[in-house]
Amino acid sequence: MLRLIGRRLLLMVPTLILASILIFLLAEVLPGNVGRSILGQYATPEDVAALNRELGADRPLVVRYVAWAGNFVTGDWGESPVQKVPVRPYVMAALWNSLILAGFALILIVPTSIVLGVFSGLRRDSALDRVITVSTLSMTVIPEFVSGVVLLYVFAVWLKWLPVTALAPEGAPFYERLYYLILPAIPLMFLELGYIARMARVGTVQVLSMPYIRTAVLKGVPRSRVVFGHVLRNAMVPTVTVIGSQVGWLIGGLVVVETLFSYPGIGKVMVESALNHDVPVLEASVLMVAVVYMFANLVADIVVALLNPRIRKGG
């Protein structure tokens, strides 16, 4: 097990290196350059060229990459040439915001989707099953800007139940921050609901077909006890496995929700820094998301291993 984890951790290194090279290339192929982003369209080419020289953005790609990577590895993430602020706190604050939002969304998703999934699994092939399956799957593929816009209108503007922003005022207590996050978390929840509910359903169906459950039901053990005692726990296993693979996506795919709800998260930082050729910020933010993604997967694998009855029996 430890060997396995070690190997997975080692594999992250080449992945991250490749990713960082790709990102450098991205900044290279996008139209414009950092000097132009800072000075705007009305600056003369001479001014832009001078600024690029000053920032070292006119050096060959390889030289810039090596210089950046050297500093990054030693923990020096540099300063954003565009925002003139140190990269590390800027990116980490955005990442932290996104993690809170994504984490909150996950907390909403897991119980909801498990309940829905178990229900539809218990009534396999019934009308309810189909309604749940199709509607949750459809929610998954309805773009979050559609659901987000409608939710904003209904709950924040029309009914005024929830705030229109995602960011609570400074110094607000934690529960108030969560209150502000309800509305943006719902579109994210929709996106994940179908998939995770589906997993819970599969798990339920599978457990129900096990001989010992059938025996228990035949013996007259109350249905609720069967469901809570066995089905739920076993349905958790496949559910947890998929959550891991969703975390990275949740964080990385936040762009639209963050735009819609004006939430200062990592998704917005990535897109803005890409468009502005703010390479240090772009590199740091994308790599952090990649790291979170890979760790989430690893953790999910470990959790599954711990949850699985066989490994518990085996020791």
Binding site: R3, L4, L11, P14, T15, L16, L18, A19, L22, L26, V29, L30, P31, R130, T133, V134, L137, S138, T140, V141, I142, P143, F145, V146, V149, Y153, V157, L191, Y195, R198, M199, V202, V205, Q206, S209, V237, P238, T241, V242, S245, G248, W249, I251, G252, G253, V255, V256, G267, M270, V271, A274, V286, A290, Y293, D301, V304, A305, N308, R310, I311
Partner: protein, 338 residues
């Protein structure tokens, strides 16, 4: 954009192949496969009985035909599948013929801008005074061109890569899988900006871009399915006969993994609709005056409060298509699993 996720029909292909890749620890393989894969056997039990049929050469073709007929019949009896199909056909019809039925989707008339739904404009008008009904109907066109073609492209590329990686394994497999890992670890929005800025823009480019975005996931699924098949008797037999690898892959393995590929395809189709709309929303997709739904929602969003019809009708249209594709997916999945 949800492309780094495995299929909603179970993490099975994904996890099973991953566990094989982790090879060194047999216990881990077992428990992971155990934890995640059984769902697949319930939902999509591969081609177990089929492979038996294939062993008996003569009976094979007849059996396949019979099975296909049975599947079609079962599908036609499946209400979810039929409802989905009818909705999709409705949009296909509108994509092809709405120009002859509705008003022009691009004709502006600022004097009636943001008019509420009425007899002359069933869905009202947008900010430039264009007929929202006409635009909603015509909006099906871009989506129905982009999504299926992008899906086919992803299936083609993903199929080839998955077949190669799964069949040859070894170092080829290792390299391909590492690259796929990198692509999956990069946030999807970054990957799409990268692709679109490398390639330019236009409908064809968007198709290629979405196809490319989905390729890693599809190749993982296909690879997993191939790995499941490659140790079976009929593949062994073909190899013993001395068939070339390409022949074995295309003629022997491919027909036996069509079901997971079809299901994967319908799932990707739903996501392709989603992704095309999201790219438009973020400004990387289509350009006006295209009545594309994603683009329309993104542009007209500012009028949600004062003229909700400009946004809600295209949103409902987009949702209906997505639901329809899911109904079809669901119908297919259930029928295959019977």
């Amino acid at each position: 954009m949800p492309d780094d996720r495995p299929t909603p029909f179970g993490p099975d292909p994904d996890l099973r192949e991953e566990s094989m890749q982790l090879g060194a620890d047999p216990e881990m393989i077992e428990l992971r496969a155990d934890a995640a894969s059984e769902g697949r056997d319930l939902e999509l039990p591969g081609g177990d009985h089929k492979s038996k049929a294939l062993e008996a050469d003569a009976a094979a073709t007849a059996e396949q035909k019979r099975q296909r007929r049975y599947l079609v019949k079962a599908l036609l009896r499946s209400p979810t599948f039929m409802v989905g199909l009818i909705i999709v056909l409705f949009w296909v019809f509108m994509a092809l013929f709405s120009a002859f039925i509705t008003q022009s989707p691009t004709l502006t008339d600022p004097n009636i801008s943001l008019a509420a739904p009425s007899a002359s404009h069933w869905f009202g008008t947008d900010d430039l005074g264009r007929d929202v009904f006409a635009r909603t109907m015509a909006g099906a066109r871009t989506v129905l061109i982009i999504a299926p073609l992008a899906t086919l492209l992803a299936l083609l590329w993903g199929g080839i890569i998955g077949l190669i990686a799964g069949f040859w394994r070894g170092i080829t497999d290792e390299i391909i899988m590492r690259l796929i890992d990198v692509l999956l670890a990069l946030p999807i929005i970054i990957t799409s900006i990268l692709i679109l800025s490398l390639l330019g823009k236009g409908t064809a480019i968007i198709i290629v871009a979405i196809g490319a975005l989905f390729t890693p996931v599809v190749s993982r699924t296909v690879r997993a399915a191939v790995i499941g098949e490659r140790e079976r008797e009929y593949v062994m037999a073909a190899r013993l006969r001395g068939e070339r690898s390409a022949f074995v892959m295309v003629r022997e393995i491919l027909p036996n993994i069509t079901q997971p590929i079809i299901v994967e395809g319908t799932i990707r189709l739903g996501y392709a609709v989603f992704t095309a709309a999201t790219l438009s929303f973020l400004g990387f997709g289509l350009a006006p005056p295209s009545p594309d739904w994603g683009l329309t929602i993104s542009v007209e969003r500012v009028f949600l409060q004062i003229a909700p019809w400009t946004v809600l009708f295209p949103a409902a249209a987009l949702a209906s298509l997505v639901v329809a594709v899911n109904l079809i997916t669901d119908g297919l999945g259930r029928t295959f699993s019977k």
